[in-house]
């Protein structure tokens, strides 16, 4: 597996248009290091490629489905509180299509 480096993290952050402090990068690198080691541990299991990965920790199903009942909507001002730019009750962005 390709090692995760600070350059890769910086590039990814850049693509997602944010940046972090050096301390945050170091912390994240440490986390990736732990994860990578765990992955390597799993790789040591014989014939691991032939094993179907589990998505959930337990192989169980449930039968709960929500009844189709609508609940009160958020107040519009509350719903849009995090938006920087609101016009006529809608979030405004620079045009996203050409």
């Amino acid at each position: 597996m390709k090692p995760v480096t600070k350059e890769i993290l910086k590039e990814s952050a850049n693509k997602l248009m944010f940046d972090m402090s050096d301390e945050q990068y170091s912390a994240l690198l440490e986390e990736f290091d732990t994860i990578t080691k765990q992955m390597e541990l799993i790789s040591e299991i014989p014939n691991v490629d032939e094993i179907t990965p589990m998505v959930f920790p337990f192989d169980v199903t449930n039968d709960y489905l929500r009844e189709d009942v609508a609940q009160e909507s958020l107040k519009r001002d509350d719903a849009l509180k995090n938006a920087k730019d609101v016009v006529d009750g809608q979030i405004r962005l620079p045009k996203v299509v050409g």
């Binding site: 189709d68 609508a70 719903a79 849009l80 009750g89």
Partner: protein, 475 residues
């Protein structure tokens, strides 16, 4: 060179549930922007999706109507992409295990024959937010974000614009009759993307496919595909290559125009949504969904035929699901089905056409129209009078019995008074009595007409005829 078009369709159907696919946010159309949203729809941190039961029931019903294999375990996956119409950064869909697979529907072709179109898959997913683009900005309305969708993917077995149009028409009929969607293409409740390529006839390999988006009517689907077939054929004929691209249909020029080239396919990095544990659907649940399903158009048609209605009348009644529902309610009056059908097909339909309204906006309630038709059947009003009353009912949905009295149109069913008029008419027309006795049936009609005339159209025709016959026998 002779070409064969290869066409596959992806149809998105917006469900008319009360709440959204994974949240209890309200589903409504035409409301003010961002007034039908809850925390899940806005992807606020800590929110979790919970699957809508009715949406699952709807999907099962559509799967059944299209003869699909229904998966009894529900699995949902994340389709990851970064775009402003998607608050979570991913759309929850069913990539790996669609609820329905391997189905088919039969479509009617122009020559009266049927063609079976196989359907690859049907899956549930959530709609995205609506973006309104002006010349320099985009505006976001999250009311649509999370509305339940079903996507139906056909096998590439359609061969013409007409076939594609009939296929969409059939699916629209299924989803509207099953009450899953209003199926309005012009409002985006049923959206259709077309994949189309051409190949030399006899070839089995596929050509480069072009996607057409924004097809908002059945007519446009047909036109866009037929245009695209000739565009691609011309390209190949002159030695050019068809490019892999997305095009849209331009209504004004009736042509498809380039939107963007598809350089490479987007990797959506699908994976199972860890927030929704697999849901087991019991056999009972699936069977209940199917058995409690509203009638499909074909089933209604067969039922109407059993009532003695002809094929043409039946087809008019099922052309619009809401009209068939109105007619079904009228049937509960137990009046003659043929009479009821005639009123719906001619008189009611004429009002709808004239005013450009749907049956849901039709001013006369089933109850009152039913009463009026029963009055005709009982001979309390003549057809002519019924139409006068009908006109008045259109104004305020008044009770036809009250209107009949007010208008003085209620027929005279008083035996004594009708007998008086019969005697008067017979004394004035002795020759008709002789003609009747000599077997001339027309004489009876003439005499009834004379009584009607004398009563200024007020005498109950059925009763008049009966009393007159009896009286003639006595003489």
């Amino acid at each position: 060179m002779e070409f064969e078009p290869v066409i596959g369709l992806e149809i998105h159907v917006e469900m008319k549930t009360k709440s959204k696919m994974f949240s209890s946010g309200r589903v409504a159309f035409g409301d003010d922007p961002n007034t039908n949203v809850v925390a899940v729809d806005m992807a606020f941190p800590g929110t979790m999706p919970v699957v809508n039961k009715q949406a699952v029931i709807n999907a099962i019903r559509v799967c059944h109507a299209m003869n699909m294999t229904i998966d009894d375990e529900l699995w949902f996956d994340r389709k990851n992409y970064f775009y402003s119409d998607l608050p979570k950064g991913y759309q929850i869909t069913q990539q790996f295990r669609p609820i329905g697979s391997n189905g088919y529907i039969d479509i009617d072709l122009e020559d009266g024959s049927k063609k079976r179109i196989n359907i690859e898959r049907l899956h549930m997913e959530e709609d995205t937010c609506k973006q309104l683009h002006s010349w320099d900005v985009s505006l976001l309305d999250y009311n649509r974000a999370g509305i339940p969708l079903i996507e139906i993917v056909s096998k590439p077995e359609l061969r013409s614009g007409y076939e594609a149009m009939k296929y969409v028409e059939k699916i629209r009929s299924i989803v509207t009759f099953l009450d899953v969607s209003d199926g309005k293409m012009e409002e985006g409740s049923l959206r259709c993307d077309v994949n189309i390529s051409i190949r030399e006839k006899g070839n089995t390999a596929f050509g480069t496919k072009v996607e057409i988006k924004n097809l908002n009517s059945l007519a446009n689907i047909q036109k866009a595909i037929d245009f695209e077939i000739s565009r691609q054929s011309l390209l190949v004929e002159f030695g050019d290559k068809v490019q892999q691209e997305t095009r849209r249909f331009d209504e004004a020029s009736k042509e498809t125009v380039l939107m963007r080239l598809k350089t490479d396919s987007v990797d959506y990095k699908y994976f199972v949504d860890p927030n929704i544990a697999p849901i087991k659907l019991s056999e009972q649940f699936i069977n209940d969904a199917i058995n409690s399903s509203p009638e499909l158009a074909e089933v209604k048609l067969a039922r109407y035929k059993k009532l003695g209605l002809n094929e043409y009348d039946c087809s008019l009644l099922i052309a619009d699901k809401d009209i068939s529902v109105y007619f079904d309610e009228l049937l509960k009056t137990n009046a003659n089905p043929k009479l009821l059908a005639n009123w719906v097909i001619s008189d009611v339909q004429a009002v709808l056409n004239k005013n450009g309204i749907s049956i849901k906006e039709f001013p006369i309630s089933v109850d009152n129209l039913g009463k009026l038709i029963l009055m005709i059947e009982a001979g309390k009003v003549s057809n002519k009078q019924a139409r006068e009353i009908f006109e008045k009912m259109l104004e305020n949905n008044a009770n036809p019995e009250d209107l009949a009295q007010k208008l003085g149109t209620s027929l005279n069913s008083d035996e004594a008074s009708i007998m008086n008029m019969i005697n008067e008419v017979l004394s004035q027309n002795p020759q008709s009595i002789i003609d009747y006795k000599n077997g001339k049936d027309r004489a009876l009609g003439f005499l009834v007409g004379q009584v009607m005339k004398l009563s200024h159209g007020q005498a109950n025709p059925a009763m008049t005829s009966k009393l007159l016959t009896e009286e003639l026998k006595r003489r």
